[in-house]
Symmetry: C2
Amino acid sequence: MVVELISVGTEILMGNIVNTNAAFLAEQCASMGLVCYYQTTVGDNEKRLLETVNTAMDRADLIILSGGLGPTGDDITKEVCAKATGRKLVMDGASRVAIEKYFEKMNRVPTDNNWKQAQVPEGCIVMHNDNGTAPGMIIEHEKATLILLPGPPGELIPMFNDSVKPYISGKQEAVMVSQTVKIVGMGESAVAAAIADLFDSQTNPTIATYAKTGEVHLRVTARAEDEKKARKLLKPMIKDLKERFNEHIYTTDPEITLEEAVVELLVNNELTVSTVESCTGGLVAGRLINVSGVSEVFKMGHITYSNKAKRKIIGVKRSTLDKYGAVSEQVAREMAKGGALLSKSDVVVSITGIAGPDGGSEAKPVGLVYIGCCVKGNVRVQEYHFSGNRAKIRASAVAAALVLIRECVLEYVSQVTFGKKK
Amino acid sequence: MVVELISVGTEILMGNIVNTNAAFLAEQCASMGLVCYYQTTVGDNEKRLLETVNTAMDRADLIILSGGLGPTGDDITKEVCAKATGRKLVMDGASRVAIEKYFEKMNRVPTDNNWKQAQVPEGCIVMHNDNGTAPGMIIEHEKATLILLPGPPGELIPMFNDSVKPYISGKQEAVMVSQTVKIVGMGESAVAAAIADLFDSQTNPTIATYAKTGEVHLRVTARAEDEKKARKLLKPMIKDLKERFNEHIYTTDPEITLEEAVVELLVNNELTVSTVESCTGGLVAGRLINVSGVSEVFKMGHITYSNKAKRKIIGVKRSTLDKYGAVSEQVAREMAKGGALLSKSDVVVSITGIAGPDGGSEAKPVGLVYIGCCVKGNVRVQEYHFSGNRAKIRASAVAAALVLIRECVLEYVSQVTFGKKK
């Protein structure tokens, strides 16, 4: 089934708000196996909205419209959809009662234009709105089915979950199932090169690459008549990818983030962690603390942006700073070691670098970053050269720090396991 | 001039990412006085993308496409735009050199598909990409001008600001000049209520509100035949807004961020700053360290997520933690005071709260955050109730911490100034 999304609202066209409804609806539709080829945003203008709805009816089975169901004169989504499907608007008794009750509860009196919200295209399925006054509507037309949802996310999301999802499920024949393979330690083009053959020969399942900061995601999607068969189709492809990318894969769960994978690895191995940051200024700790359960392993973080803080808090030697400079392999090493001593953590990551735009030199250009990771006393330091502006260099360094923690912990764990086996 | 936005990418169609690029571009275009009637999202599919570009060329003067310029086989935006404008792709020498240098700097070897990124439609204007390997392109066609931008926001935003904005300005007859008034310490509806009269009577200049995390931005835009005249039109409106919002305005410069304003305030008053964070886990320090010149004033940061770290590092009393709990006015106060003692900074901000999803109770619900600010020994603590998920609560707390630093420093400065005058 092909779905198309139409977002109605001048505030999206003007950039006043970010269209999170489209992302929510798109993800939900994808997870239900609907194929989406187009999303359109159009303003509250009758001619252009009608044109957009007509175009969508020619190319999709299902059209989900959001927004423009409010009580004011420039809310015209319902009127335009009635026109597009050749229906007149009629008063819906249940919606009228719901609006009455809603205003009673709010201790307010409905104005004339509130009753406009109880009017619906004749013969449509009305969806009750628990969180506002605009009912949703499903108009089953011969060419396509139109689903009209209110714009506020607090009304749209529950209405989708409670009414639209069951409606669509009841109409479906094929099911689509996706799995995401998340890869670190390789660039997008290296990943693409490693799967060029799969990419060229893809039919079902299909495969797509997504570049993220410091990560590459592969999404594999299979289509079948039921979920079980779709999962069966996915299996050999996922197995193949696991063989190709091996330890570069940190998860195959679309919900798991890199920081969650790192925290899970630490929790599973009962390793505590602390951070000592210079140019990233707390963002590595910030990402680790994104993870709700991090308190089990996270001990403390230090932001030693100045040389003085590096010396006083962490105990980096003045002579090391003088001889090698703050951005050096040696200082990253002393930061990781000093952090371990201070925090008594099993794992300490340290970052020192030049995020720019100032502070670079020929020998130490902007983008040069040293990241150290100390695991139970053993320190590994890596040199990185990131590009981009200050924010991008810092974001890249944060991702690289998480990847380095993961690598060092995996290495440590494999040594311990190997040692035990002996 | 009519502009149309086309976002290219299956990851948007599938809802993997929220389309923040469209919001950014829409806001920028609106501020330049461009009229936008449609935004379309389409996948990496040649037929559908070509159709979308052709439709847009029939109804707009300027089409901004984002995404699909990557090195992989499914990146086809450039190829499709070349086809739509009847051009062939040619190797761009400068882009080839830039890619070479980019990989050299990263210590990596380009793969064959990286060179694909140096190919551009013949006769187009190539925009250099400082933050990635995909150059941007401007194709001036008789029907419409196509502007192709890379999808990652870290590449798209600077390229838009540095290259696209001046290009569009050069083509415009009327000049649109905007000024942004950035407000903190008031909610969106309070700001809207305070300017309801201006809002209703607006013609030239116009006024628009944008809600950001912890901030409300007002954009005032004047249209005139030249910049000088436009600026003259802006002046009385800006003066009026300054009178209405007074010290709630932290800048009227669109480029200045809240953290930059805070750092500037500290630098100008020669006040050093340190941070002690719990639930925000380093993100306040992270935002301060966004500012390139922060090293003049930033001394150190501590992330004391656990109670033990709060005691050992910062000296919060065990009895205070036991009696009031980690999330309390008293602990926020001791964190700020302890941080001041440890860091010998003039200003210390402390944050402790419940970001959720776990850890809330009826007495202390998720979203409860205490922020303390110590300026030269005087501590002020404020209680906040934020809503949303973990990420949103933390982002709100970070913004509130910056706002509180600003308020406390302004208060201190006014006292000192007043004292001197006496």
